[in-house]
């Protein structure tokens, strides 16, 4: 097997990344601008012994990939904002039952039906907190077609490593733009740790993650979304047990922030530092190329858990500028972890940030005093 170089859109590269990572079951429901992921999977999976199914809605799609995961497959679904909202109950179920699976959200303008064909990053907080109850998840944010491939592979590995749903939080721009992409033939695959004979299916291993009791091995695993003990049996009336279970599930991810973190750090000694993820990263990269050596850049390939320790790498920072295609969702998170003034460069409607707009935001940041300032672009 050799690597193949192709000229693909991001959604198609995402499907190819999933297949390279060993995904063999995809359940989905069509929604713009994510459908090319499903369409590619529908063509490709039957040819390699996998299964594609178009479900009746997004609730069913999310349910099916959880069922498929317990049956032993690496599974994925893809959607956009309105469908993501519909998946939330079962995303919480996946978190509670520690089911590894991958959900791709190709974000579009919202709220509600919003702008189906325009890019946005308005679902970042929903990805973190969308389902009810306390839980933690992992979310990645590609900013190129190559990263759509590479980070999709990584999403599957993280899902299995931490037994959790993992989100690929991309956007219409990255999903639909075409770029050269290397379809790597020998991607690294981290297998899920299988439950051993005699091990309890929900007793954590040393890393806080239990072995996975894949169905069909004769282990007789019971999986429930109710608060459960280490055998997986419902135990809903113990305050202590509920606290213990939920804290462990949150901690297994939050405590691994630094292990999970995946960032680019450029010019760490700069005074004005951009923090970006997804499509705005590309404009920031252009700004840095146009004004070399002036600005710093923290590019987040993983947004959840938020890699807060990386902010400390910018010891000379006088202000952080956060360009986002929303009204400052990740900027709020940045604010939680630093006393450095923050300038949000929010942009809605689907048009990308221009270099001139970012330059203007940087100029505002140079005199920023308030903790959070929104710059009018």
């Amino acid at each position: 097997m050799t690597d193949k170089t192709e000229f693909l859109n991001g959604n198609t590269a995402c499907a190819e990344g999933a297949i390279a990572a060993g995904c063999r079951f995809f359940a989905g429901y069509p929604i713009t601008p994510s459908t090319e992921v499903a369409e590619r999977m529908a063509v490709r999976l039957p040819k390699i012994g996998g299964t594609f199914i178009q479900m009746e809605d997004e609730l069913a799609s999310m349910a099916a990939i959880i069922g498929g995961a317990w049956a032993g497959a690496r599974t994925m679904t893809a959607t956009s904002g309105p469908g993501f909202s519909l998946m939330m109950e079962n995303i919480g179920y996946a978190a509670m039952t520690e089911t590894p699976c991958v959900v791709v959200n190709v974000q579009r303008g919202g709220p509600s039906t919003g702008q189906p064909t325009m890019a946005a990053q308005g679902d970042m907080m929903q990805a973190r907190f969308g389902s009810h109850g306390d839980y933690s998840i992992i979310a990645l944010a590609p900013s190129s077609v190559q990263e759509m491939f590479d980070l999709t592979v990584k999403a599957f590995n993280l899902a299995d490593r931490f037994r959790t749903p993992v989100f690929l939080m991309t956007d219409e721009t990255i999903g639909h733009m075409r770029e050269k992409v290397i379809l790597r033939s020998d991607v690294e695959i981290t297998p899920r740790r299988e439950l051993l004979e005699g091990e309890l299916p929900f007793r954590p291993g040393p890393d806080g993650v239990p072995g996975f009791g894949t169905f069909g091995r004769g282990l007789g695993v019971h999986v429930t979304g109710l608060t459960h003990d280490e055998r997986g049996y419902p135990a809903t009336d113990s305050a202590d047990l509920h606290e213990k279970v939920v804290r462990r599930m949150v901690r297994k991810i939050e405590d691994a922030r630094n292990e999970i973190a995946d960032v680019d750090i450029v010019n760490p000694d700069a005074e004005i530092v951009f923090i970006s993820y997804g499509a705005p990263t590309r404009a920031v990269q252009q700004l840095l190329a146009d004004y070399p050596g002036i600005y710093g850049h923290l590019n987040l390939r993983i947004v959840w858990p938020f890699p807060d320790a990386k902010l400390g790498e910018f010891g000379a920072a006088k202000a952080f500028v956060v360009p986002e295609m929303n009204l400052g969702q990740m900027a709020r998170e940045v604010r939680m972890h630093t006393n450095v003034p923050i300038v949000t460069a929010a942009k809605l409607g689907g048009a990308l940030h221009t270099v001139a707009e970012l330059k203007h935001a940087a100029d505002v940041a140079a005199t920023a005093k308030a903790p959070v300032t929104e710059v009018v672009l």
Partner: protein, 262 residues
């Protein structure tokens, strides 16, 4: 393998109320899997939410207790990945036909190779006795205190119209017939839907002048008309009396199946 081995012994006794019919239905289902000699390691039980959904937790094989109304799409995922497994779904009338109604018709349309056992007690039992889409016209529930003013679903007619390969209806009184129907359902490729009319003395009976379990079971028995008799009556132009329902094997056909054994 013995019948007892199909039960997750350390989970017993079950949480069902005294006089509930769900234990009977669980018993009939596991009797069917045992009689058929199914491989316990290749059998998965899936359920949604409610009284019926707790049944999956009492089986000793792999089992998924999922979210309200979504048992069928979860089961679809299991079956598509493991087509050589027998996947049996426990559900209730509220779980299946209200919040899960869309999944129900689409699972039947796909004719996916699942066996669905619906415990129809005409009410939301676990949530405290609210009206369901199967609450009879005029019946009292906590959300229909003046009597139900909507017509109930005929779940078997829905399954038939939507495309299921096997459809049967029995009651918790007909334990032998029910066991046989579940066996037939498991053996029939495609979606098999077995509706079991069952008693809920706690939430339904207490509000509808049937406090005694025996009254409820007697009513189920008295209101059931065997399919042969119902067919004869229909041919003679005699309509089904209000409150009566047909029991027996209602549909058996061999339409194309999704997710069948390879």
């Amino acid at each position: 393998m013995t019948l007892e081995e199909w039960y997750r012994q350390d989970r017993l006794p079950h949480i069902y109320c005294a006089g509930c019919g769900n234990g009977t239905i669980l018993n009939c289902t596991l009797r069917a899997t045992n009689e058929l000699g199914l491989d316990r390691t290749k059998t998965t039980f899936v359920s949604g939410i409610g009284c019926s959904s707790r049944a999956s937790g009492y089986t000793s094989s792999d089992s998924l207790h999922t979210t309200h109304g979504r048992a069928l799409p979860f089961a679809t995922g299991v079956k598509m990945v493991k087509p050589d497994h027998d996947v049996i779904v426990f559900t209730g009338d509220g779980d299946l036909s209200a919040i899960g109604g869309n999944h129900f018709i689409h699972a039947c349309r796909r004719n996916i190779d699942l066996t669905v056992v619906c415990m129809n007690n005409n009410i939301y039992g676990m949530t405290g006795g609210q009206g369901s889409p199967c609450t009879p016209y005029g019946a009292i529930s906590t959300t229909t205190p003046y009597g139900m003013r909507e017509m109930p679903f005929d779940l078997c007619a829905v399954a038939e119209a939507a495309g299921a390969n096997y459809v049967a209806r029995w009651t918790s009184y007909h334990v032998k017939e029910l066991t046989q129907a579940i066996r037939a359902g498991i053996e029939t490729p495609g979606l098999s839907f077995i509706e079991v009319m069952t008693q809920c003395p706690t939430s339904f009976g207490s509000k509808n002048k049937m406090r005694q379990v025996s009254q409820m079971v007697d009513a189920l028995r008295a209101n059931s008309i065997l399919k042969d008799k119902a067919d004869r009556n229909k041919a003679a132009g005699i309509p089904l009396e209000p409150g009566k329902f047909v029991v027996g094997e209602l549909v058996r056909r061999s339409n194309p199946v999704l997710g069948g054994r390879p």
